[in-house]
């Protein structure tokens, strides 16, 4: 029982989906509070990008824009030692729980049955290395009571999972979990032509079930 809740936030900071895995949360926090929490986390995420060290910003710009990179090539020449000062690049290894692999695979088969994925890479803890790079911004907030983990997709959809301190889950494991949520989201929700992008997800039973199944598969609840 370490994962408390999962939020999905769209590009402009609106909450589009949340699921609580602890009944106490639903009693004490109403949906309006959830919206405020989501936009607060979104702003915090955005603000950190503005107060980043100069070198890091330059690096991230050069990373993004090819035209500018060519023009200011000399300026942007960041040395390796400078890069190493900041946690720009995170090598990411999905954590395979060796004991549970067989049972997990069975749930994974169940999980992927109705989707369009075979999912050998992301869903069956294989030895494949997934290079995960997020140029800047928050990955993890560590407080006395709660851990908050962030994952942002390239298109700007943010996945936030909040967990209590009973178990140290680790950034890598949670990022992997949220990447899996991302692939389920893009498969189950975005396939529906009547869903308009950036709008809240309402009453999608299949998606709810899949998330519940995924959380059970990862032993997070």
């Amino acid at each position: 029982m370490s994962l408390e809740s999962l939020l999905i936030i769209n590009k402009s900071g609106g909450l589009i989906y949340n699921k609580n895995f602890n009944d106490n949360i639903e009693k004490n926090i109403n949906s309006n509070d959830m919206l405020i929490l989501a936009s607060t986390l979104h702003s915090a995420f955005t603000l950190t990008n503005c107060i980043l060290p100069e070198v890091l910003q330059k690096y991230s710009e050069s990373y993004n824009d090819s035209k500018e990179r060519k023009e200011n090539e000399e300026e942007l020449d960041v040395t390796d030692s400078e890069r190493n000062k900041f946690p720009i690049k995170v090598k990411y290894y999905p954590i395979g729980n060796k004991v549970n692999i067989t049972t997990n695979n069975m749930i994974a088969n169940e999980l992927l049955r109705e989707t369009t994925m075979i999912g050998t890479e992301l869903f069956y803890n294989k030895k494949d290395i997934i290079d995960y790079e997020q140029v800047s911004c928050i990955r993890h907030i560590d407080s006395d009571v709660l851990d908050v983990y962030f994952y942002q997709s390239i298109t700007g959809i943010k996945f936030i999972s909040i967990s209590n301190k009973k178990e140290n889950l680790g950034v890598d494991r949670m990022t992997c979990f949220m990447m899996r949520v991302y692939s389920l989201f893009s498969d189950v929700v975005l396939k529906n032509p009547f869903y308009s992008v950036e709008m809240p997800i309402r009453k999608n039973k299949l998606f709810d079930d899949k998330i519940q199944m995924l959380v059970e598969m990862e032993n997070l609840v």
Partner: protein, 215 residues
């Protein structure tokens, strides 16, 4: 025998050092596309896909009374609706293994070798025009997976219906999803008795304000 092999090995390594990094990246993209398609995607019969697409397009043409302009427009609009959702599908399935595009040529290669490969299992030739800054995707005569089994009637052929115009909409909206503005259009189609099917991307610009923070 062993000495023979070792000498050939040294020859091999000398050629490796000459390989252009762009060229290597191209090969990497090709193999990544193949890898993702084989490993991550469930598959369905291509001919079934053709026949389904054809039947729906025919219904659309009937509905618009063989008005080719309206059909082209409608197909493109539908493509845009797909593309805005497809871009997330794409990124979640390549699972961040894909290198960032640093220039136009990269962009073209990525769309062709990974995008087209992943979804319709066909790889077009990429023609990059440096002076006009355009990218062309060229399908040889019968390679466009949409065009198989299809022959347009004469009246629609004269009005220039681009049968697979849905693709241009998809590319446009998908690129808009990663903050790139561009024009995508069909230039020629084998169904209109042209030699190749060409899709052109031009005027690629970056929308700075829409880049999400942290990417």
């Amino acid at each position: 025998m062993s000495s023979n092999i070792s000498s050939e090995k040294t020859n091999e390594s000398s050629t490796v050092s000459q390989v252009d990094p762009d060229y290597q990246k191209e090969i990497f993209l090709k193999q990544l596309g193949e890898h993702v398609y084989q490993q991550n995607m469930k598959k369905i019969n291509a001919e079934f896909f053709n026949v389904t697409y054809g039947s729906f397009v025919r219904t659309l043409i009937d509905f618009y009374d063989s008005d080719a302009d309206k059909c082209n427009e409608k197909l493109k609009a539908m493509g845009e609706s797909i593309g805005s959702r497809l871009i997330d599908d794409f990124y979640s399935k390549v699972t961040n293994q894909i290198p960032r595009c640093s220039n136009l040529k990269d962009l073209g290669n990525t769309i062709a070798y990974v995008g087209f490969k992943m979804y319709i299992n066909t790889v077009p030739r990429v023609i990059f025009d440096e002076t006009n800054r355009t990218i062309k995707f060229r399908f040889e005569s019968n390679a466009n997976i949409f065009n198989k089994f299809v022959e347009l009637p004469d009246d629609i052929k004269e009005k220039k219906l681009y049968y697979s115009n849905i693709v241009s909409g998809i590319i446009k909206a998908a690129l808009a999803g990663i903050a790139l503005n561009c024009d995508v259009e069909f230039i020629s189609d084998t169904l209109l008795d042209d030699q190749y099917t060409d899709i052109q991307i031009s005027n690629v610009t970056r929308i700075k304000d829409e880049v999400p923070m942290g990417q």
